[in-house]
């Protein structure tokens, strides 16, 4: 392959990368452009403060913002300790065949489609919650959070395991050489040194939880209200988009979808940047 051919191929690589990067910006740009009518007449704060009542001309999405924050935070509250524990189980407590089996099982779990969690959630979890609390339909914040925490767990567990493994083994060997146990090595060497990785894993999983559509759509109830308790029905920004999508395209109601999209974009970008900043600090520490 002569020089000109090589140069052509290398230019192709360059163009692919920049096209892909441009896409990220284009996504935001399109939503901004299409949601503009809603913002145009200085209604920006109205979006956040008003209730959602399209027939009255109110397009506030604050109930949905609260719904998103509530459900995703609650799911992380459930998931974080469980995943940390499971990761400890895989990386520290178990050995040999069991360790391999556990890890492979978690890896397989990452492949379970989200819609299945939602589907089983409707018929199994919702019924259980309804019977246990004896209130409402069972389609509520709690049900959605529980299922959501199950969905984000496998990826978070693997992330934590990788963080543990990234701690240089020479640190830990010193503890073992002093007669320490694996648990001690984990508690006093591995855990303190992998903390940045753990926080990053948490942040990224929170982003995934915020961005989920189907579980919230299927089992959170979808009532347009700010949830007051765990068994209240709620709606997230993501399910709001899916539900309002059926409306007339030209209406302002529809344009509100783009406002939801913008918020979601900004939330997740903020989390990514946070993870990035933590990551860099983590790298410096590891050196």
């Amino acid at each position: 392959m002569n020089r000109t051919n090589e140069k052509a191929v290398e230019t192709l690589f360059f163009l692919s990368a920049f096209f892909s990067a441009l896409l990220t910006i284009a996504i935001f740009g399109f939503m901004l452009a299409l949601g503009l009518p809603l913002f145009a007449e200085g209604r920006f704060f109205a979006i956040i403060t008003e209730p959602w009542a399209p027939h009255l001309g109110h397009f506030g999405i604050s109930p949905m913002i609260v719904g998103t924050l509530a459900i995703s935070s609650l799911s992380m509250l459930f998931a974080f300790p469980l995943c940390l524990g499971f990761a400890i189980l895989i990386s520290v407590v178990s050995r040999g065949k069991i360790r391999w089996l556990l890890r492979k099982t978690v890896e397989m779990m990452t492949g379970i489609p989200t819609v299945i969690y939602g589907f089983v959630g409707i018929f199994l979890l919702v019924r259980l919650v309804r019977e246990f609390f004896d209130a409402g339909s069972g389609m509520c914040v709690l049900s959605a959070s529980l299922m959501l925490s199950l969905m984000v767990s496998p990826t978070m567990i693997l992330f934590f395991c990788d963080s543990f493994e990234r701690v240089p083994s020479s640190y830990g060997k010193a503890v073992l050489a002093m007669g320490g146990t694996e648990i001690q090595r984990f508690l006093y060497v591995t855990l303190p040194n992998s903390w940045p990785g753990i926080v990053i894993g948490f942040t990224l999983s929170l982003g995934r939880a915020m961005g989920d559509t189907l579980i919230a759509l299927m089992i959170a109830g979808n009532a347009v209200q700010t949830p007051g308790s765990l068994v209240d029905s709620a709606r997230t920004l993501t399910s709001h988009i899916a539900l309002v999508f059926a409306a007339d395209y030209e209406s302002l109601e529809f344009k509100a979808i783009f406002a939801c999209g913008i918020f979601l974009y900004l939330f997740t970008t903020l989390l990514v940047i946070t993870a990035r900043l933590l990551g860099h600090r983590g790298e410096r520490w590891a050196r």
């Binding site: 090589e6 290398e10 192709l12 690589f13 692919s16 990368a17 920049f18 096209f19 892909s20 990067a21 896409l23 990220t24 996504i27 399109f30 939503m31 300790p81 469980l82 524990g85 400890i88 189980l89 520290v92 407590v93 397989m108 779990m109 492949g111 379970i112 489609p113 989200t114 819609v115 299945i116 939602g118 589907f119 089983v120 409707i122 018929f123 199994l124 199950l150 767990s153 984990f186 508690l187 990224l204 982003g207 995934r208 961005g211 989920d212 559509t213 189907l214 299927m218 993501t238 988009i241 899916a242 395209y249 979808i257 783009f258 979601l264 974009y265 997740t268 970008t269 990514v272 993870a275």
Partner: protein, 293 residues
């Protein structure tokens, strides 16, 4: 206090393991218990003879076959679009980009990877509307638009796995090829890529799984509950995950619900088989690339 912690941690970790595994087992188990009865050829092909359906001689009206074909077409199209662009970008990042450019591009791709799938779907829809307005009135949400949107969804994963696979190679691997007189591109193609193929391929398989299971993107870009096998790239289509969602709220009797369970089991099977495939292909591909005489 320390003693207590050291004793409590293993117990706690086992507890977490049992809880999580128990939860997942209940989900999957519940699915099987309620759905295995509906698993049969008629679930997929309805009242049409399977052979006729497969050879496209007759339409399937009350089976999952159109949804299966729809999902399959989506995956193939999306992956064919995403893999070349993704690998090329990943190669650029790992081998050519300077430190500053790399940092900025990585940030963009991380952002894209973190976007909710419904936002990507929204973008796909907006793009379709834009094209409809400014180019041709024939363009509306369809198989092609969905595939392109799905390609956007998985693009950051492929870029990332390609980049990490290449960057994971030790410096000596890089230097060996160059010291033997290879040009940069030759080094990438003949030395680095074959050695990082395992990582790249597993990234592709991950992408395939993601495309097969996604519902949010396709909901906004052209999937419908019932339309048969997609007639062309610009037509509506069915898909398994959407069917499952649709049936969960629109079922009229227990038989219809049972088909939902059946569809869920089929989708689960597809995703798990893909996972096993990734495991097997990883080893096979590396062997073929490097040791074939």
């Amino acid at each position: 206090m320390k003693r207590f912690l050291e004793l409590a941690v293993p117990i706690f970790s086992w507890l977490c393991g049992i809880i999580l595994l128990g939860a997942v087992l209940s989900v999957v188990g519940y699915l099987f218990v309620h759905g295995w009865k509906s698993l049969s050829l008629s679930l997929i092909f309805g009242t049409t003879p399977p052979l006729d359906a497969l050879l496209m001689k007759r339409h399937v009206f009350n089976g999952l076959f159109p949804a299966v074909i729809g999902t399959f077409s989506l995956v193939v199209l999306a992956v064919c679009l995403a893999v070349p662009v993704g690998m090329a970008s990943g190669i650029y990042l790992a081998e050519y980009a300077g430190a500053g450019t790399k940092a900025i591009l990585n940030l963009f791709f991380d952002i894209m990877a973190g976007l909710p799938s419904i936002v990507i779907g929204l973008f796909g829809f907006s793009a379709a509307v834009f094209l409809n307005r400014h180019f041709s009135g024939n363009i509306h949400p369809c198989l092609l638009i969905s595939s392109i949107a799905l390609a956007f969804l998985v693009l950051p994963y492929i870029i990332r796995t390609t980049q990490m696979a290449l960057e994971g190679l030790p410096l000596s691997a890089r230097m060996t090829g160059l010291s033997l007189g290879a040009s940069r591109l030759q080094n990438i193609v003949h030395v680095l890529l074959p050695q990082s193929l395992a990582g790249v391929v597993s990234g592709v398989i991950l992408a395939i799984g993601r495309c097969a299971e996604d519902t949010a993107v396709i909901m906004l870009t052209g999937v419908v509950a019932s339309t048969g096998i997609p007639r062309s790239l610009l037509s509506h289509y069915e898909a398994l995950p959407f069917y499952i969602y649709y049936i969960s709220s629109q079922y009229t009797d227990s038989e219809e619900l049972a088909t939902g369970y059946g569809a869920a089991i089929i989708l689960l099977f597809i995703c798990l088989i893909l996972f096993l495939l990734a495991f097997v292909i990883k080893k096979r591909v590396s062997y073929l690339a490097l040791y074939r005489a």
